[in-house]
Amino acid sequence: MRINAQVKTNVRFRTLALRTAVCVLLGCGVPTESSLAQSESLDETDTRAIMKANFLFHFAASNEWPASSKSGDFNVAVIGNERLFEELVDKYAFKMVGAQPLKIHAFHDVESFKGAPSMHLIYCDPGGDALSALAKSLEGKPALLVADSEGALERGAFINFVAVGNRIRYQINADQAREKGVLIGNKIMSWAVTSTP
C-alpha cells in the first residue's frame, strides 16, 4: 500500500505539463519539469490472478466429477492468495458448474483451512511443506488440489501452474486425479504442458 501511495500519478499532471510548456515557450519564465512529466498510471490489476481465475473456472467446469460431488454448491477454496479470491468472486461466483452454483471460499493459510467444509477444488498458493501437509489432509477426498509452486506435483498437487515462455501454463498429474475419481477433461489435458496419462 505504501508503494502504491508513493508512486500514484495524477492525471492533472498532463495539464500542468502542457501549461508549463506554453509558459516556457511564451517566455513566462516558469521553470519546467516537463521533461519528467508523465501522466500514465500503471494498471495495478493482478494479471496473473485474472489468468489463474479463468483456468480454475475451466478446471471446475471441464472435468468429470464423481457422482457424490454433484449436488449442492460447487465449492472452491483459495488459500493464501487474496487477489485471486477477489477475482474469482468478482467474475465467477454463482456461475454454474453443471447444475451447481460456484461458491468461493478464502483462507489465509493452510493452517486456517483445517476443519473447512468439503471442497471440490482447492488452490494453494504456499508451496513446500505446507502444500505437502495439505495434500496429505485431502487423501481419500474427491478434491482437486491446484498449486503454483516448484515441485508441487511431487508434493501431492494434481495441477500445478508453471511459467512457459513468459506465459502461465499448467502441469497435470492425471493419474492421481483419476485415483480420486476426478476425470480430467480432454480440453484441460490438451492445454497442459506436461501430464501423466
Partner: protein, 308 residues
C-alpha cells in the same frame, strides 16, 4: 441685392474648398489612406482600401504596403476569433509580413516590427495546438499537427537555425497522453476506436522518442500504454471465455508486456531511483511470470523507501 451677392460668393468658396479636399484625398496613396484608417482603428475600412489593390502596381512592389496589410490582417484575425491552421486573416497576415520581409526596401525599424508580429502570430498557432491537445478529441490530430507545422515554419523563417526537436518531442508526447487518456476512459472499449487510440498513443510516443530518444516521460508512458492495453484485454476474460480464447488472449497480452519491458528498462536506466519505474518493472516482470526479476525490483523499491 448686395446680400444676395455675398451669399453667392460664400457658396462658391465652400464649393471650392470641398473640391480641394476631395482632390487632396484622392492624391493620397491607398497605403497612406489605409494607414490613416488603421491608426483610427477602422481595420475593416483600411482592409477595403488596401486589399483590393495589393496585387496591383505600385502597391505590389511596395514593401510598406505589404507591411501595412500584414498589420491590418493581424488585427482582423485578433478581432474575428477565428482559429485553425487555415484561419484566413492569420494566413494572409503571415503571408503579407513574409512578403514585406522579402523586400530589401523595407526600413529596418519596420523589418524588426514585422519580425515581432510574425513571432507573435506563430505563437498563436502553437498556443492553439496546445489548447487542442488539452481538449483532444479523436480525429483532431491532423489539425493539431497542422497548427504546429505553421508555428515551426514561421519560426524557421525567422530563424533558419530554429531547432524544432524539443517542442516536437513534447507535442507528440502530449498527443500520446491524450490518446491514452481516452483509452483509459473505456468509452471505446472493444471498438475499432479503441484500437485506433491505442495505436495513436504508441505512434505518438514513438515519434516523441524519435525526436528525443532519451526522453524519460515518453519512455515511461510508452511502456505504460503497452502494458495497460494488455491488462485491458485480460480484464475482459470471464466465464464465457473458452480455453482456446484464453490462450489467444494470453499470447496477445504477453506480446504487449514484452514490448513494454524495453521502454520501461530505458526509463529505469535514466532514473534508477524513481519508484514509478521500479514498480513498472516489478509489475511487468510479474505479468510475464518472471518471479525472480519481479522480486528483485520489489526489493529495490523497499531499499528506496527505506532511504527516504
Amino acid at each position: 441685392m448686395k446680400k444676395y451677392r455675398t451669399t453667392h460668393w460664400m457658396q462658391a468658396v465652400l464649393w471650392g474648398a470641398m473640391v480641394l479636399v476631395t482632390c487632396v484625398l484622392h492624391a493620397q496613396s491607398p497605403v497612406e489612406r489605409a494607414s490613416r484608417l488603421a491608426q483610427s482603428g477602422s481595420w475593416w475600412e483600411a482592409y477595403d482600401v488596401l486589399a483590393p489593390v495589393i496585387q496591383s502596381e505600385p502597391q505590389r512592389s511596395d514593401a510598406r504596403a505589404w507591411f501595412m496589410l500584414g498589420f491590418i490582417e493581424k488585427e482582423l484575425h485578433k478581432s474575428s476569433g477565428e482559429s485553425g491552421a487555415e484561419a484566413p486573416h492569420r494566413v494572409q497576415s503571415v503571408a503579407s509580413f513574409e512578403q514585406a520581409l522579402s523586400m530589401p526596401a523595407l526600413p529596418t525599424k519596420d523589418r524588426e516590427t514585422a519580425r515581432e508580429a510574425l513571432d507573435f502570430l506563430s505563437r498563436t498557432y502553437f498556443r492553439e495546438a496546445i489548447d487542442r491537445v488539452e481538449g483532444f478529441t479523436p480525429g483532431s490530430t491532423a489539425e493539431i499537427l497542422g497548427l504546429m507545422s505553421q508555428y515551426e515554419r514561421i519560426q524557421t523563417t525567422l530563424n533558419p537555425q530554429f531547432d524544432k526537436s524539443d517542442q516536437r518531442a513534447d507535442l507528440h508526447r502530449y498527443l500520446g497522453q491524450a490518446h491514452a487518456q481516452l483509452l483509459e476512459t473505456e468509452r471505446h472499449a472493444g471498438t475499432a476506436m479503441e484500437r485506433e487510440l491505442f495505436e495513436g498513443a504508441v505512434e505518438h510516443y514513438g515519434k516523441s522518442l524519435a525526436f528525443d530518444p532519451d526522453n524519460y516521460a515518453s519512455q515511461y508512458n510508452l511502456a505504460i500504454v503497452l502494458y495497460n492495453h494488455g491488462v485491458r484485454q485480460l480484464k475482459r476474460i470471464d466465464h464465457n471465455t473458452s480455453m482456446f480464447e484464453l490462450m489467444e488472449i494470453q499470447d496477445q497480452c504477453v506480446a504487449l508486456f514484452e514490448s513494454a519491458l524495453q521502454p520501461m528498462q530505458q526509463a529505469y536506466t535514466q532514473r534508477p531511483e524513481r519508484l514509478e519505474t521500479l514498480k513498472g518493472l516489478m509489475t511487468i516482470h510479474y505479468a510475464l511470470s518472471q518471479k525472480e526479476e519481479s522480486d528483485m525490483y520489489r526489493s529495490k523499491i523497499e531499499d528506496v523507501l527505506q532511504k527516504r
